[in-house]
């Protein structure tokens, strides 16, 4: 069926497309899980003060979560009767 889909196209174009597709499977890929640049970057994330940076990134979220807890609990009044 695949061959049928390409019927009528010049054979050189079809073969070039197939070769290009195969090359994309075997050539170095910058977005793959094991590419050297990605591995290096992720290693640096863990090795360069990860806990401290994480605490900084988390801080606004934790503060707002604490505010929500306060809204729910602190100053809670018995429900007013209609």
């Amino acid at each position: 069926m695949v061959v049928a889909a390409y019927r009528g196209m010049p054979r050189t174009i079809v073969s070039a497309a197939i070769v290009a597709g195969l090359n994309s499977l075997t050539s170095p890929c910058w977005a793959c899980p094991s590419c050297p640049i990605g591995v290096t970057a992720r290693e640096q994330v863990w090795s360069s003060g990860f806990a401290q940076q994480l605490a900084i990134v988390l801080a606004p979220f934790l503060l707002l979560s604490a505010l929500c807890v306060a809204v729910e609990s602190v100053g809670a009044r018995p429900d007013r009767k209609p």
Binding site: W30, I37, G38, T40, A41, R42, Q44, V45, Q53, L54, I56, V57, L58, A59, P60, F61, L63, L64, S65, L67, C68, V69, V71, E72, A76, D79, R80, P82
Partner: protein
């Protein structure tokens, strides 16, 4: 007709949702589409591929936390909708969303931009003006949110009664 006067569950869920959605807006628009900054772009400028990917990891963690905030807000909102004492008020929820978004921008701006300087809104010329404008816009949103919440105090119809 039943009346509901306990605004607190709607407010807290709106704050969580507003912070989560506001964080997504920040990450999607300023980090990814406009590419003005990344999470740690003043600590580690993304001027090579490794540094870009390094910042990409931290942007991903930022988005992970915004996602968690959004889910927490959604869960709280669902639970609030099941309660008979909670008013199902559009004004209260919209106000709380604005309050959450505005507070998130203000707190994030104060901590990350001003105190720690891990990134700036628009680095370069007039960097401080952009940072202060970001905080001011957050405070304005929070004030508008508070006004809406105050206006919603008169809404007293629970969800099931609408």
């Amino acid at each position: 007709m039943r009346t509901a006067t306990n605004q607190r569950p709607i407010i807290s869920s709106g704050i969580l949702l507003g912070a989560g959605l506001g964080g997504f807006a920040d990450g999607i628009v300023l980090h990814q589409i406009l590419q003005w900054h990344n999470m740690l772009s003043s600590v580690r400028p993304p001027d090579d591929l490794v540094s870009m990917k390094y910042n990409m990891v931290w942007d991903g963690l930022f988005h992970a936390f915004t996602w968690l905030m959004t889910v927490a807000g959604l869960v709280r909102l669902w639970r609030a909708g099941l309660r008979a004492d909670v008013p199902w008020s559009t004004r209260t929820l919209a106000g709380a969303l604005l309050l959450g978004w505005g507070l998130f921008n203000s707190i994030e701006g104060l901590i990350d931009h001003q105190l720690l300087g891990i990134h700036h809104v628009h680095p370069g010329d007039h960097q401080l003006a952009w940072d202060l404008g970001f905080i001011a816009s957050g405070l304005a949103m929070a004030a508008a949110g508070l006004a809406l919440i105050r206006a919603g105090r008169t809404d007293a119809t629970p969800r099931g009664a609408l």
